[in-house]
């Protein structure tokens, strides 16, 4: 036990070392040492250590999911703390709330067994949230997707992300009872329509990609998938010509240098940061990430690239790749069909969301504002990411299945 506590073969200890070294670096270069630094320096390693140890005791499933996420959280908090110590400290608090959410979700989802029967509830809740956003919504950064309740603002679309995956999963589990792909499409497109009205293009894209993936795996009518793809591209084209804010996104992607002080400002500042960092980075505290507007949320990746180098940036990408791999593995091994689809959906959500923002800030694809899961600053995004991780944790365990043979023979009919 004692040996295990100090061995660097134990991933937690490696993580602990990373935190110790990097936090002392940040404190050194930020030239500040106060209550906030103590809070972060003590709080972060403590949360990581306790949450991972607890998981070993509690769950018989995949222990690497939380470990990967702990690494992402470390890098994120490190960068946020370096940008703004106060936000860094707040993010540690959010991390704590996130871990509590993670375990709460884990126990609740595991205890209740009626999840596949709640399709109507998921749809109803989603639309209720959408409607309340439309009515009470606040506009922040050009998107009307925030609701403010007694001082705290949160994004309902973060909750809808999970509801959406649950809805799709319960639809395909229960398709013997009420299979109707047209109604399904209408409901999905209504989701995307709502997001489009809110001008949240990133989330609209994300929802559609997740839908397509689940649809691709489980829909029996293969031609209908092609039809969906076709109509999606048609809608994208129509959207481009009909809405000026879509055009602006595409134009600033193709040539941000044209309007460098206006619409292209964010993306060019992000490119400067990445370019200045080089492969090894300028060193923590030696860069100028604050030149990028919204750096602690959407552009956290550019800040990491500037100060810790593109190699660390690549490491972040690899972390997501491992997370996706573990998620897909869970989807392959789970025998309960509902949780199989949920695992696939959540993995796809995390993966596509990361890709949309990573590709956006590096100018690989047009920039649309979504957060980088587990790295960006922000309460509602973080808590809901941890909630979905909790669901994924449940899916990684053995779950009692009523008709196991269903899985063995699979969906042979569509071969």
């Amino acid at each position: 036990m004692f040996k295990r506590l100090f061995s660097f073969k134990v991933p937690q200890n490696l993580l602990f070392l990373l935190n110790l070294l990097s936090l002392s670096l940040v404190i050194l270069y930020n030239k500040s040492f106060d209550r906030l630094s103590i809070g972060v320096a003590v709080g972060l390693p403590l949360i990581i250590y306790i949450s991972n140890l607890l998981l070993l005791k509690v769950s018989s499933g995949d222990h690497y999911l939380l470990l990967i996420v702990s690494m992402m959280m470390s890098l994120g908090i490190l960068m946020i703390y370096r940008i703004n110590p106060e936000l860094g400290f707040k993010q540690v608090i959010w991390y704590m709330v996130g871990i509590i959410t993670f375990y709460a979700t884990y126990f609740i989802v595991k205890r209740i067994t009626l999840w596949e029967k709640g399709m109507g509830l998921y749809i109803g809740l989603s639309f209720l949230l959408f409607l309340s956003t439309l009515i009470f919504g606040k506009t922040i950064n050009g998107s009307t997707n925030w609701i403010k309740i007694s001082g705290y603002s949160f994004q309902p679309s973060e909750i809808i992300k999970i509801l959406f995956v649950f809805f799709l999963a319960s639809y395909f589990v229960n398709r013997d009872k009420f299979e109707n792909k047209y109604i399904l499409s209408v409901i999905v497109y209504a989701h995307i329509g709502f997001l489009f009205i809110q001008r949240d293009l990133g989330s609209a894209m994300l929802f559609y990609m997740v839908f397509l993936v689940i649809f691709y795996v489980y829909e029996n009518d293969r031609k209908f998938i092609l039809l969906n793809l076709f109509s999606a591209s048609l809608m994208a084209m129509l959207g481009y010509f009909a809405f000026s804010h879509v055009q602006v996104r595409v134009e600033t992607w193709l040539n941000p240098w044209e309007d460098i002080s206006g619409k292209g400002y964010q993306i060019t500042q992000s490119l400067f940061a990445i370019a200045e960092g080089g492969f090894l980075g300028s060193g923590i505290g030696n860069g100028y990430p604050t030149f990028i507007p919204e750096v602690q949320t959407d552009f956290i990746f550019s800040a990491i690239c500037e100060e810790m180098g593109v190699l660390t940036g690549i490491a972040v990408i690899m972390l997501f790749l491992i997370l996706i791999y573990r998620g897909i593995k869970i989807a392959l091994e789970q025998r309960n069909q509902f949780f199989r689809i949920v695992a696939l959906g959540i993995t796809a959500t995390l993966g596509f969301q990361a890709f949309i923002i990573l590709g956006g800030v590096t100018k690989l694809i047009p920039l649309t504002g979504v957060t980088l899961p587990f790295l960006s600053y922000g309460g509602s995004s973080l808590i809901m990411s941890f909630a979905s991780l909790g669901v994924l944790q449940v899916a990684s365990e053995y779950i009692y299945v009523e008709q196991e043979e269903d899985y063995e023979h699979g969906t042979e009919e569509d071969n």
Binding site: I27, L28, Y29, K31, S32, F33, D34, V213, Y216, V217, Y218, W257, I260, S261, T268, Q269, L271, F272, I274, A275, E276, G278, F279, N286, G287, Y288, F291, C305, V310, G313, I314, I317, M318, F320, L321, I324, Y325, I328, A331, L332, L344, A348, G351, F352, A354, F355, L358, G359, T362, L364, E408, H409, G410, T411, E412, D414, N415
Partner: protein, 476 residues
């Protein structure tokens, strides 16, 4: 594996492709686009660490050449003590126009603070935070960057610049035994102290004052290249070096001429009189490979490792006929050289055939005066044997004694030199390369007067002579 699982694997495949393409793109961006992106004027990042006071730059005798101060608003101001004199060596450091010269290549050294200072600063911060250090120890939160000590001799630099005057051109002087650059001046130049007022003018001027002619200017070498042809002739057995010069010859359809018929000449006499007829034929005998090999030993087509940016001297690599070989043998054709390379060529012959790596920065020191880095003499290229080098030195002293370079004679000191008058689309370039004293060389020099119109012997040689006298008086 059932269909569902196959499809899920395909989804994993798709996601993997997406993330791997991100990695590939990021790497591509960093290698091929980052340098260009960074230079945008909208990139507000200051040049170097703004908290660290930029280090100073000194000459070899620790004369201050450049230093920084902080204004009241904590903004740094860079001072250049001698205005134009070091505009190409030290270059400039400006928030708007970026950096050049040593300010560019040693940017991180100049802004690197002492790690002990940094740790001490944080230590005091901690003391402050716990209210232990109640104004007992004054905290110096400022750190200073490292300083550079150059190999340049300020007096010689000043003198050389005065000698060059308003003429367009370049002077490079080297200690041939160590590779230390003693002086490097160019004309025209600019004043890095008031870039804001003059930028418009100097960046668009036809005379290109921003270019460091010594290291980045490419010129036809003309007859000074005959030193390389001579080395090639002596290194290659079986090359005929005795000719009867009738003042005119046709090599492969390309007519070569001399001012007069030199008659029966051997190699030494040919070099003394800079006989085109002889060297054209030697070039043709050596052939493309022979000439290229010996030129590359003299660092043609190679990056010369140096403390500031340099350009490669060019030896054409795309196939030559006999006519071109004749022209190349006398230093014409498509040959292009930098004055720095020619100074190194001369110093290689002076130093028994060993070309030393040129040094501009002698030492890097930190704020306490501790030497962090010291440049040691290093052989860059062995161009020939000591015997052949001494043989050529003998020939070069004859050039100054009784040949085309008599204007470079110094009373009581043996000078070895070679003149060059290079034909080019404009007026001729005047070249002179030399070293002295011939039997124990302490200075090797290359003088180039761009489009001067006169010959190397009449225009460039007197300059080289004056500068060598000044240098030898100081370094006896």
């Amino acid at each position: 594996m059932n269909t569902e699982q196959k499809r899920i694997i395909r989804v994993l495949f798709l996601l993997s492709i997406m993330f791997i393409s991100l990695i590939v793109y990021l790497t591509y961006f960093q290698i091929f686009q980052a340098e260009k992106v960074k230079t945008s004027s909208y990139n507000k990042r200051p040049l170097g660490n703004e908290y660290v006071l930029r280090g100073s730059i000194y000459d070899r005798n620790e004369t201050v050449l450049s230093y920084s101060t902080k204004a009241d608003d904590q903004k740094q101001i860079r001072h250049y003590e001698y205005d134009n004199l070091y505009s190409h060596i030290i270059g400039y450091y400006d928030e708007r126009y970026g950096t050049s010269g040593l300010e560019k290549s040693f940017n991180s050294t100049l802004t690197q603070s002492n790690i002990i200072d940094d740790v001490r600063n944080v230590f005091f911060e901690i003391l402050d935070a716990f209210k232990v250090n109640e104004d007992k120890i004054p905290i110096k939160k400022e750190s200073e960057g490292n300083s550079l000590i150059l190999t340049i001799d300020h007096d010689l630099q000043k003198y050389s610049r005065k000698q060059l005057g308003n003429k367009k051109g370049s002077v490079v002087a080297i200690n041939p035994q160590t590779g230390d650059i003693l002086t490097m001046v160019n004309s025209p130049d600019f004043n890095p102290n008031n870039l804001r007022d003059s930028w418009e003018n100097i960046s668009t001027s036809e005379n290109k004052p921003l270019i460091n002619r010594s290291t980045e200017g490419l010129y036809t070498p003309g007859s000074i290249y005959k030193l390389i042809t001579t080395t090639g002739a002596l290194e290659t057995p079986g090359v005929t070096t005795k000719f009867n010069c009738e003042g005119k010859i046709n090599i492969g359809g390309y007519p070569l001429t001399d001012h007069r018929a030199h008659g029966e000449v051997d190699l030494s006499e040919a070099l003394q009189e800079s006989c085109n007829i002889s060297f054209g034929q030697i070039g043709a005998q050596l052939g493309e490979e022979g000439l290229k090999d010996i030129s590359q030993k003299f660092m043609f087509n190679t990056n010369i490792p140096f403390d500031i940016n340099t350009k490669q001297s060019k030896f054409p690599t795309d196939g030559m006929d006999k006519a071109e070989l004749g022209a190349t043998g006398i230093g014409q054709g498509e040959l292009l050289v930098t004055p720095l390379n020619m100074a190194l060529m001369t110093s290689a012959i002076a130093n028994n055939g060993r070309m030393m790596t040129p040094n501009l920065v002698q030492k890097v020191i930190n704020t306490n005066g501790t030497v962090l880095k010291k440049s040691e003499p290093k052989v860059l290229s062995t161009v020939t044997t000591p015997e052949i080098a001494n043989n050529i030195t003998e020939m070069m002293t004859e050039v100054v004694n009784s040949g085309t370079g008599t204007n470079a004679q110094i009373k009581g000191i043996k000078v070895a030199g070679k003149t060059g008058t290079a034909q080019n689309p404009g007026e001729d370039h005047a070249w002179f390369v030399a070293f002295a004293p011939a039997d124990n060389p302490r200075i090797a020099i290359a003088v180039l007067l761009e489009n001067s119109g006169g010959t190397g012997g009449s225009n460039a040689a007197p300059l080289a002579r004056n500068i060598m006298i000044e240098a030898l008086n100081k370094y006896k």
